[in-house]
């Protein structure tokens, strides 16, 4: 098999390539709603492969017309190329192809939705301040894997702090020891990340504070992703009324890639 060649295309040319690949009724497609800024793209006949670079790994998005073209692309990928496959249906064909090409499934995340918010009287949480950025950033990357976690980079985190999208708990010295990120667009809210290093119930205060903010902003639905192995977090959210919406993000990486 020959190696595929990645190139940077103009936004317009990239859009044409994607539209063409999608028009050929691809059997495999995981290119949904990604920011195309700065990505590279490779073509194999009517199939395309989009590569988005991160610090230590790349995310790969494929629109493949046939399984043989999918195989050709996967065969050419680099060790640090990871693949997310979000789907509400069986991904058996993807899984078989990836596993037979030296890939392994490293995690799956299920998407959940709140349609009603539990409101409870709790102490009001602080918003993160610019000085909290480094502490939150390093703790986030300690707790979660950037490969599976879709974590914000420092610039994105600074913007979230500036926009008052992060609630925090602090220790006696004022240092952040718990943070919850929430965002809202229109009637829809998201809970991108939540961690808490306290041993008592303070972490829950962050969540209840976010629910109050969502309710006051007239948000109707709030979405979040939970690692299927994270039993505790799933149980907390289920006690609070969250339900799965059926979408599961399956994450694969090369067997030789060190997480």
């Amino acid at each position: 098999m020959k190696t595929i060649e990645f190139k940077i295309y103009s936004e317009n040319d990239l859009r044409i390539l994607i539209d063409n690949a999608v028009a050929h009724r691809p059997s495999f497609n995981n290119l949904y709603g990604i920011d195309l800024n700065g990505v590279e793209c490779a073509r194999v006949n009517n199939s395309i492969c989009v590569r988005k670079k991160f610090d230590s790994f790349n995310r790969i998005y494929l629109v493949a017309e046939t399984q043989s073209e999918l195989k050709e692309i996967i065969y050419s990928l680099e060790v640090n190329d990871t693949i997310n496959i979000p789907s509400k249906t069986d991904i058996g064909a993807w899984d078989t192809t990836l596993i037979s090409h030296n890939y392994r499934k490293i995690a799956s995340y299920s998407r959940y939705v709140y349609r009603e918010f539990p409101i409870r009287e709790v102490p009001v949480s602080d918003f993160a301040m610019p000085d909290d950025l480094e502490r939150i950033y390093y703790r986030l990357y300690e707790i979660f894997s950037p490969v599976t976690g879709h974590l914000p980079n420092q610039i994105e985190l600074a913007r979230l702090i500036e926009n008052k999208n992060i609630l925090v708990n602090r220790d006696a010295e004022g240092a952040v020891n718990g943070a919850l990120c929430f965002t809202a667009t229109g009637k829809k809210g998201d809970l991108p990340f939540w961690y808490d290093d306290n041993e008592d119930m303070k972490g829950l205060y962050l969540l209840y504070n976010a629910f109050s903010i969502f309710k006051n902003a007239n948000i109707k639905f709030v979405y979040l992703w939970i690692n299927d192995d994270n039993r505790k977090t799933r149980k907390i959210h289920k006690l609070l009324g969250v339900v799965p919406d059926g979408l599961i993000d399956n994450i694969y990486c090369n067997k030789n890639f060190k997480l």
């Binding site: 409870r120 306290n198 041993e199």
Partner: protein, 77 residues
């Protein structure tokens, strides 16, 4: 509501703790398994099983299982 009934419901919120470890006098914050998840489960249990909503602050001020029972009892009175 009787204390024994409440203790049984309280014990049911734990997965790993030996039920014999939990009595009316147990300082529940000191239990190894006690954490925010169990706290939330207990709050939900008091609402669901006994129809009474208590706050985190009220729970935090309680030391023993019986203290918690008494808080809920007072709400019922």
């Amino acid at each position: 509501m009787i204390l024994e009934e409440f203790i049984k419901s309280f014990v049911d919120q734990f997965d790993e703790t030996d039920p014999s470890e939990i009595t009316a006098e147990t300082v529940f914050h000191d239990l190894d398994e006690w954490d925010s998840l169990i706290a939330l489960a207990v709050l939900n249990m008091t609402e669901k099983n006994f129809g009474k909503k208590i706050t985190f602050d009220e729970m935090k001020k309680c030391k023993t299982v019986e203290d918690l029972f008494n808080v809920i009892e007072r709400k019922q009175a």
